[in-house]
């Protein structure tokens, strides 16, 4: 039992802090938001140069061999800086699924290109409400002699506009009992339609439609079998990573608010001289500390060698606890900034929106609370 970070972990945090401070100032951020891809490609190359695109991948494919704890360190700093790069989509979702489930050919073909920053991927899975869970897939894939035909519609696909390849989940209606399969779909495959829009607070989001989209025989990820358990594992770890990102965003909002209340004067004295505001800041501070602790805990547990129930409990638990804390810190940060807080002139509004994004991704606080209730009950009756 020792929760102090290792020397390598301290160094990673230090570099991430420095990188964010250098590349994610307010001006650079606004600039990145204007980019039709939602981020600046040169930043992505820098992430590759720093080795971070390979952070969670095994060393045999050129990765760094890090785990969720290292990912959390990076994500927390991404959150502080409101980075909009498709790290989640390319590395943590699609990339990790390739690393875990891909054939040797797929791993060797794609992972090095991901790690060196050449290839971007999206993860196209949801088709309706996240409350329905991860098994709710109606997109179908038919096979014939020439390969695969994909038919269906995916919503809320993050970073699809910049992706070279979409990883798409689908059902195989003819085969029995294989559940959900994953397909690697080149962006320019026939029958693929992309409708792109700005994402709340930065980045892009899209709807992807597949109308009898034609795919080669080797487009299917892996060598068969149901991908749902792998998807659930990757999404649990993605949730833990988003929790760390949210903890970083909270800290930035808190710091900005604390500074503001020390500087801004009303009735001849700083806002922070009001006891109501001091106490509210104290509560926000407590929630920031709580969020950081819960994110660290989730990172430790989703990476630990435990059963999937413990992993999912850790992820859902963190999403609930941090979701509540982030919501309150975001709302209070806006409130304490007064009228300035509801304008587009500060970065605060972007953080507020990103907290909404955090809540919406992979299921709301209430969804994860229900999931926690169910899993916790199961874990004890076993």
């Amino acid at each position: 039992m020792d929760l102090s970070p290792s020397e390598a972990q301290r160094m990673l945090r230090h570099s991430a802090e420095r990188f964010i401070a250098e590349h994610y100032g307010p001006a650079a951020r606004r600039h990145a938001m204007q980019d039709p891809m939602g981020f600046k490609r040169e930043n992505w190359r820098k992430l590759a140069d720093l080795g971070w695109l390979g952070l969670p991948f095994p060393e045999e494919v050129g990765g760094f061999g890090g785990g969720p704890v290292e990912v959390a360190i990076l994500m927390e700093e991404f959150g502080r800086g409101l980075a909009t790069e498709p790290y989640l989509s390319t590395v943590l979702l699609a990339g990790t699924l390739i690393a875990e489930c891909g054939t040797e050919e797929q791993r060797m073909g794609l992972l090095p290109a991901i790690i060196n920053g050449e290839r971007l991927l999206s993860f196209a899975h949801y088709e309706s409400d996240a409350r329905a869970g991860l098994s709710e897939v109606h997109t179908v894939a038919h096979t014939d002699n020439q390969g695969w035909m994909l038919h269906g519609r995916k919503m809320a696909v993050l970073d699809a506009v910049s992706a070279d390849v979409h990883m798409v989940s689908a059902r195989l209606p003819d085969a029995q009992g294989v559940g959900i399969a994953l397909f690697l779909v080149p962006k320019d495959a026939a029958g693929v339609r992309l409708r792109d829009a700005p994402r709340l607070g930065g980045g892009r989001v899209a709807e992807l439609t597949f109308e009898q989209a034609r795919l080669p025989p080797d487009a299917r990820l892996g060598t068969g079998g149901d991908m749902l358990p792998a998807i659930e594992g990757v999404v649990d770890r993605a949730v833990a990573a988003l929790c760390a990102e949210a903890a970083g965003m909270m800290r930035s909002m808190f710091d900005a608010t604390l500074d503001y209340t020390k500087v801004r004067k009303q009735f001849g004295r700083p806002l922070g001289a009001n006891q109501v505001i001091r106490h509210r800041l104290a509560d926000m501070y407590v929630q920031c500390e709580e969020a950081r602790a819960m994110a660290a805990r989730a990172a430790l547990l989703v990476g630990a060698d435990t059963d999937s129930t413990q992993r999912s409990l850790a992820a859902s638990g963190a999403k609930v606890k941090i979701g509540r804390c982030a919501r309150n810190v975001a709302e209070q940060a806006v409130q304490l900034h007064g009228a300035m807080g509801v304008t587009d002139e500060l970065n605060l509004g972007l953080y507020f929106k990103r907290v909404l994004v955090f809540e919406a991704l992979f299921g709301s606080v209430d969804y994860h609370l229900q999931r926690h209730v169910k899993l916790f009950g199961n874990s004890r009756s076993e």
């Binding site: 709340l200 004067k265 304008t343």
Partner: protein, 398 residues
């Protein structure tokens, strides 16, 4: 005590309903329901105000001598409720509920005669010049200065958070005409023509991307002395009267009920994947329903007291505090219901005039911007912190 309507009240309600059915077009309803700003766009408001003006129903709270309809308090309530329930655009309060009552109370007869009819007709569109950078909650510290020169005041300074300054042709403003030991004593209440040379307007974008508020700069702006309301140096009295009227004069719950019904409709529709079937959504909607019922009842109690000629007491801060919190709760549950559709940021305006199909359904488009703008509910018009200060001081004697 009776919560139900009398037969006369029911007849009046039917009259209002018939009027709305006849004059509120489906296009106007749609546009109004897609409105995400605090106030509606003038191009939505104008046709509705014309219809109301023809009927003499623009200003339910005004005395008949100035063009009010002469309604009882329950009639005003019924009118507000029916308009809100039908999704009618909201008229700007800045003429009708703010500067209008100030002019009736403090204006010269020439001012009343000139301005009041133009408020009713919609010919004049007013904005409010109160807050300044550094003088938000602490309004009395304002610095915009008006110096008398002959028959004019020369105004220099700046106002901020000026809603609809870019649509308005007139502003009522608090300005400093002298320096007194008590800051409030040097403030005057001026009416300013927005076409005057020397006025520039800087838009301030809301976090949703909406353009509602502005900063207004005054550079040697000439304002005729006849545009002074009340005595010079007594503008604080006018300003306070207006704030009281603003807070206590209106009712909030009809609008809240409309917002709640809209979000409940969403919960029952496929747009939210029938979110109502999830217990956490259903219970939140019930809790908000109870909060709205409570506010409705409190507001009806105020109306009953007013109707009996009693003073309802310093309840306006209570109503503002709760209304703003409930408003935020409604818009928040809306965001929860639309799930991942909340990821899409649509910044183009107005939403009713988009000429392509966004990737999320129209019924969901307004949910996130309304939530974002709604954060201002507990900030603008006296923040929740200020309201609690007022309750503690004025009601509790603390």
């Amino acid at each position: 005590m009776a919560l139900s309507c009398t037969p006369e009240e029911l007849r009046f309600r039917d009259e209002v309903r018939a009027f709305i059915a006849a004059r509120l077009s489906p296009e106007l309803r749609r546009a109004s329901s897609l409105n995400v700003s605090f106030f509606s766009d003038p191009d939505i408001v104008a046709p509705w105000q014309r219809a109301l003006h023809e009927r003499g129903w623009v200003a339910p709270g005004w005395p008949q001598e100035h063009g009010g309809p002469g309604w009882t308090a329950p009639q005003r309530w019924i009118f507000e409720s029916e308009c809100a329930a039908a999704g009618a655009p909201q008229l700007s309060p800045m003429g009708i509920k703010m500067v209008g009552p100030v002019l009736m109370r403090f204006g010269t007869s020439a001012q009343k005669k000139f301005y009041l009819p133009r408020i009713l007709s919609g010919e004049d569109r007013w904005c409010q010049g109160y807050s300044e950078p550094g003088s938000g909650s602490d309004l009395a510290s304002l610095k915009t200065r008006a110096v008398r020169r002959g028959d004019h005041y020369i105004v220099n300074g700046t106002k901020i958070w000026t809603t609809h300054a870019h649509f308005a042709n007139r502003m009522f403003a608090l300005v400093r005409t002298s320096d007194e030991p008590r800051q409030q004593d040097g403030i005057s209440f001026l009416l300013i023509d927005m076409a005057s040379p020397g006025i520039t307007i800087r838009p301030i974008m809301m976090i949703s991307g909406d353009h509602d508020v502005n900063q207004v700069f005054f550079d040697e702006v000439k304002v005729p002395v006849t545009n002074l309301v009340g005595e010079e140096g007594r503008g604080w009295t006018c300003g306070k009267y207006l704030l009281e009227f603003e807070r206590g004069g209106g009712v909030n719950s009809p609008k809240l009920r409309y917002a709640l019904e809209k979000v409940r409709g969403l919960a029952n529709s496929d747009l939210s994947y029938k979110a109502i079937s999830h217990p956490e959504i259903a219970t939140k909607l019930s809790e908000i329903e109870l909060d709205v019922q409570t506010l409705e009842f409190l507001e009806l109690q105020v109306l009953s007291a007013l109707q009996r000629g009693e003073n309802p007491g310093p309840v306006s801060s209570v109503l503002k505090l709760r209304a703003s919190e409930i408003h935020q709760a409604i818009s928040r549950v809306g965001v929860e219901m639309v799930g991942q559709n909340a990821l899409v940021e649509e910044r183009r305006r107005p939403l009713h005039a988009l000429n392509d199909t966004p990737i999320i359904p129209e019924g969901v488009l307004s949910v996130v911007p309304r939530h974002l703008n709604g954060r201002a509910n507990t900030i603008f018009g006296g923040s929740s912190e200020i309201q609690r200060d007022i309750i503690a001081k004025q009601v509790l004697g603390l």
